[in-house]
Structures are given as C-alpha cells and as structure tokens.
Symmetry: C2
Subunit: 415 residues, 2 copies
C-alpha cells in the first residue's frame, strides 16, 4: 500500500510543453509540499476565488466515492465557491468517519482563512486508498500558501495535483459572450481512469465569465459527457473522479440566464474544446501508453448504443494489446463488437483502420491489402472506425494501448 | 492475422499430468493434422457417437458468433448426435456465406461417413477470426480419421483442439444413477476466455448415461452457469464458446424423465464437478497466468448481484496486476466493488485476503498486520473474499493474474 514512485520518463505522447496560461481575474493559486506524498514533491494546491464565483461539478458515480467527493458533491448544490484545496498522495477514500472529519477540519481551516462559509470551500484528494489522511499537515501548510497566492501559478498548480502522471496537464481557450471576451483555463491530472494506488482523474476549469451556477452546471455536464466520459485507459473507474468549473464573473459579460441561450454558443464550444483537450492529455499520459487511439462508431441504434460499442472496443485487452503490437488484427474488433450486447447488423458491419476498409459485409474486404493498414498501425495516432449498420447513432471515444509499461507500473513496483 | 505460434513453456499452474480417462461405451475418437494450423501439429478431431446418443449444448451469446456455433445451436434442438468435428487454427468466424458453406460441406461429408442425417453432426472451430476455412482439408482427412477411431484416444483428442493452450485439458468422474454406475469424461481448450487471434473456449463432455436430451440440457445449463460462466481471463468474450454434452445411453441406467429427479442427484453433482474442473484448468492456462485466483462475494442483494461484483473484481486490470505483483493492495478491491454498479453497504464492507481480514466497517482493520497477507500473496493460489453487507446473495468466480506474459502473447508476437 506504499505510495508509488513517480514515473521517471515522460510519456512519448506528451505535448511539447505546458501551455501559456493567461491570468483569470478572481483566481489566485499557490502550491507546495506539505509532506503527504512519500517523495519530496509538491502535493498541495490552494486556490482562492473571488466572492461571487459560481461553481458547477461532476463526480464519480462509484459507490465507494471518496470523502472529498461526498463533500464537494454536497457543496456544489450551493452554487457558490470561494476556495479549492487539492492534495495528492492520499485519496482519503474508504477511510470511514476519520475521512469525513479530515475533510471537515480542512475545510474549516480554509474557510477561516478566506472568511467564508465552509460550504464554499471545495476539496479533492488523489492518491492511496484506505489510509487515514494526515489533514493536520494540510492545515499547517495553509497559511504559508495563503501568502504565496498568485494569479500566474498555473504550471505549478498542475504539477501539485500529479500522482503517476508523467507531465502536467493544462489548456486554455478564449470565447466571446456577446461582445465580451472571456477566458477559460483548465488543469487536470490522471494517468489511468484510475491510476494504481493513486486513485484518480481530477480536472479543474476556471473562467472569468459571469454565469449563474445552474447554467454553468448544464454546460459542464454536457461537456463532460463528450470529453471525460469518453476516455478510458483501463476500464477501472476511480473513487475520486472530480471535475469542477468555477466562474468568477470578473469579465462582466451580458447576463445569461439559460444554458441554451445563443449568446453562449461560442463559450459552450470553447468549454467543450477545453475539456476535450484535457481529457486527451490524460489518455496521452495513460499508464504505459505508446499509442493514442480514436475509436469512432457509427450506424448504431442510438448514440448511447454507439458509445457502449466504442467502449467495448476501447476496453478490450485483446484490441489494446494488438494495437501495442502494431497488429492490424481486426478480428478482435469484430469480437469486441460482438460482446458489447448492443444491436448491430453483422452482415453490414464495416471496419476501417486509418481510413482503410478492412472488413465489410460480414467478411474481409475482397482483395484486402494490409500494407497501408500495417503502416498506419506503426504510427502513434491510431484511428479505428466501425459502422454497425442499423441506425444513426454515433459516438467517439479515446483510449491508449495496453503495453508492458502498464504491467510495470501496476504490478512490478512492489515485487 | 497470422496464426500464433504455440506457447513454448507449460503454464506454472498446470496439473501434474493428463488424467487417465476410461472408455465410454459408444464414444470413439480420432485426431490428426489436416494442415489448417500453421505449425505442423494435430488440428482436427473426429468423434463418432453411437446411434441413440442424446446431446445438450450451451453457446456464446456473442452477436458475432461463428458459423459452427450457429450450426450447432440449431442442431442441438434435435437432441440427437452421431458425430462431432472440431478443428483448431481457424475459427470460421466473420467469414460470411463462405463460412456457412464450409460448415455445411464438412457436416455433409461426416454424415455420409456415419450414414446419418447432417443435423446429427456437431461442429466447432477455434483459431483465427476472419479467414476463410479451407474445409476441403477437413473433408480430405475424414476417411483416414474414420479408420483410426478408438475409444481410448482422449489425450490426443484434447491436444488436437488446443491453440495457445500450454497443456491438454481433461477430467473424468464416476456417478451413480439408481444402482448403475455411469462415467463422465470431458475435454476442453482455452487460454483466454478468448485467446488472441485464436477465438475461444471449447469443452466437450461425454457420458454413457441414458438421459433424454431435455434432461441433459437442463443439467448442462445449470452446470455451465456455475463453472464456465464463472471464469474470466481477460473479460473478452469469445465468438466461438461452445460446451456440448453427449450421452450415449450405453450404461443402461433406469429411465429418468425429469432433471429434478432425485435419482440424478449424484450425476448432477459429478457433472457440476467435472465442468468446474475443466473450467479451472482453463483459468490455470490463462494467457500469462502465474496465479490462480478465487473471488468469493457474499452479502449481496442477490446471487446475480454477487456474481457481477465478483466479476468486477476479477476483471479489474488493477486488481489483476496487483496480484501479479504479490501486492496486498485491497484499495483496488474497494474500487472494483465501487464501480460494479451493484448495491453494497460501504460502511459494512468486509474484505479478506487468504482468510485474513484487511478491511472492515468502511476502513482498514484496526491494528492491521500485513505480514500474513503478504505471505499469502506470494503463493500461487490467491483467495479474495468480500462481504458487501446487504443481503444473502453469494457467488464465486475464478480468474488469473495479469502479467507481462499476457502482453507478450497478445502484443509482441508480430512486432
């Protein structure tokens, strides 16, 4: 149950560098080491949000959700936020009444510091499951972090929430609401849907847009459905998954009361794009990943059905190991479609790899030439698309391959 | 899409030897090489069954079921069997109209040889998906095999149906129906629920008991639910899974018309035991397996719910890699319970590893000593049990660990 050492080498799929993240008025960040993570590294993030900041959130559906998830889930109903505290190295999951108390004490200390109600402080923890959280270390570090709060410290913030991640994850977008330009910044962590001991995927997005919490929640839920809910590394659902979106309102855009308002079209598009960017970065840092894989399914009974078929392909160990071996083994894709339990016309099934048809009409493509497909499989970005021939349902999901690296990270470190 | 080379070394979990299988009156077997498998090895099995043999079967629920599965599923409705043909090296799956034709031609040739209706000949194929089956090789080999039929050739039969298996799988039991002793023999193959290119799990059981097909089917379905449906290697469902049970009737036991008849109690127990033995042998030959894992769940809302929770644990890549690393990482078991989507009382959850309590009442066991648990994890037989504290539902499933061997077998052989 020891904390895992950080991985030493950066994922081959990592972006070239961390993006330049602009200031978002009303957001200040500070991070540092409070001694929860076993290795000496930054493991605590504190964010102060100006009064009037609205908030929306989506959380893991796991039955064994962590104590911080339970707190934040409740707090988000208030729609208002003044602070966010995130620690890495300990997930505060399956820690019983002590876990709940740890959250309450932490939140009270932060509420004192920001002179706000505890219910306006959000918390997230990521790391080992089943170990008591030494929350007094967090409380002890808060005043020092409070003195270092800065609107610029995005890169350090993204680093403080890392566990088995091999690179910090950030993204930024500009959008217009009416004639007013607003900014969206996001940071995330995650290297498996759940990383090993280290439960979880976390993402925090911030904007200076002025939006009611209800509108924010509608936009966030929709964006998460199309981004984080469409990625998988290993099919294991975290106990701590948390996505929070904070809007400080500093941009002074025209008032919007409804998520369907046309004035939000650009903001919505950019929010979707921001979260998808972060979600893709998590896949690109998937444990042991050597290839980034896009699985698109069309022709399904419904979008939901298409999503399930795509996930059946993306989660199949046999498909994922074939990709790791650069093997254009489409028979395994047929198998994964077959086991999905969704409607599909086997005789009209079409499978494309890298845009090349490999199977059609219930059998291999006549005169199939594997050469261009084999070439595609050797690349870093793999595209699989499948049409199941029964309707208009479509979905796209993203995953990575299953390699020796995954076994190394998850089995070998203690043996 | 090449056929995979056979694994060179035998699984460390293999039984010491193939069992001594007695003759079953009315069953004669022959096997040999017909050239479908790429390597020169036995790849064809022919079984002749005496007239009057009854049959029952269970098959994959995959939507992309193979052509032989479709044939046998239909033929089993007739309840009568005279022959069985099994080839390895090619699954005859996703092969379109040509695949159906290949089955029909093969069956017709065997029906001529046995002077029976084609509908009394059963077929199964295991191997590569999506390649036309060169059925003329099978037809060409049938007369030769017909001349070699022997009631003793069980070991060779078990070898002829292997693909990535590292050892032949057989089991035998004696049972009493009334005062008459009957024999049960079974052979199986499978090294993943689906092995790589090599789709599948196959099992064939034979008895000299005299039982109507309807009774046989009821007994078989029940036994399969408790054995083959309770094992998982990699969560990938085969397109060719087939279990067939043949009863020649030669033993001359008293007539039984109902599967619930008390006279069948012993037979039923031995059949259950035989199939469980074969199912366990498949797990023991799981691709890359180094540990045999029993996952028992109690206290669930229903047996079905317990089964789903047990499978969520047994299929979790993080649980399976922890076991491979001999890591008593019970936090991952908590995670797998949480993601199962079934009712569980998190605050009453109890987890035992090797009989030692590790978690209880929503947190770690007070004063938890990892020493005996760590010792258990280093062994070859791992026992995990979980009580979820809501009802009387119980289920046990069996799996193996997830090791570098699995990646080697499934990713590396072509790269």
């Amino acid at each position: 149950m020891n904390a895992k050492p950080n991985q030493t080498s950066t994922s081959p799929l990592a972006p070239e560098s961390f993006p330049r993240m602009p200031v978002i008025e009303g957001v200040a960040l500070a991070s540092g080491s409070c001694g929860i993570a076993k290795s000496v590294r930054s493991d605590l993030l504190l964010v102060e949000l100006r009064a009037g900041t609205t908030v929306a959130g989506t959380f893991t559906r796991s039955l064994t959700a962590s104590a911080p998830v339970k707190w934040s889930k409740k707090a988000v109903r208030g729609g208002q936020a003044r602070g966010l505290i995130v620690n890495s190295g300990n997930a505060n999951t399956y820690t019983g009444p002590a876990g709940k108390q740890a959250v309450e004490r932490t939140v009270e200390a932060a509420a004192d510091q920001f002179a706000c109600r505890p219910s306006r402080v959000f918390v997230a923890s990521t790391g080992v499951i089943g170990q008591p959280l030494p929350y007094e270390k967090i409380i002890g570090a808060l005043p020092g972090l409070g003195r270092q709060l800065s609107p610029m410290a995005w890169d350090a913030a993204a680093k403080a929430i890392m566990t088995t991640d091999t690179f910090p994850k950030g993204a930024t977008r500009k959008a217009k609401i009416g004639r007013v330009e607003v900014t969206l910044n996001g940071i995330a962590k995650g290297s498996g849907m759940i990383a090993p001991d280290m439960a979880t995927m976390l993402a925090f997005a911030f904007t200076d847009a002025k939006l009611p919490a209800t509108v924010l929640q509608a936009l966030l839920s929709d964006a998460v459905d199309k981004s984080f809910n469409c990625i998988t590394v290993d099919s294991d659902t975290s106990t701590s998954d948390t996505v929070l979106l904070f809007a400080t309102g500093a941009a002074g855009n025209p008032a919007v009361e409804d998520a369907g308002d046309d004035a939000l079209a650009d903001f919505k598009a950019k929010l979707d794009d921001l979260l998808l960017d972060l979600a893709h970065q998590i896949v690109r840092d998937g444990e042991g990943a050597s290839k980034f894989v896009t699985v698109a399914v069309t022709g399904a009974e419904s979008d939901k059905s298409a999503h399930r078929i795509a996930m059946s392909i993306a989660n199949s160990p046999l498909v994922k190991t074939a990709i790791a071996g650069a093997d254009a083994n489409w028979g395994r894709i047929v198998m994964a479609v077959g086991k999905a339990g969704e409607k599909a016309a086997v005789d009209r099934l079409e499978i494309f790899i890298g845009g090349h048809a490999v199977a059609k009409g219930g059998g291999p493509v006549p005169g199939y030439d594997e050469t261009p497909v084999a070439r595609h499989m050797k690349g870093q970005d793999i595209a699989i698309s499948v049409d199941v021939g029964v309707g208009d349902g479509a979905a796209t999901v993203w995953t990575c391959d299953l390699t020796h690296g995954y076994i190394d990270i998850n089995a070998d470190y203690r043996s």
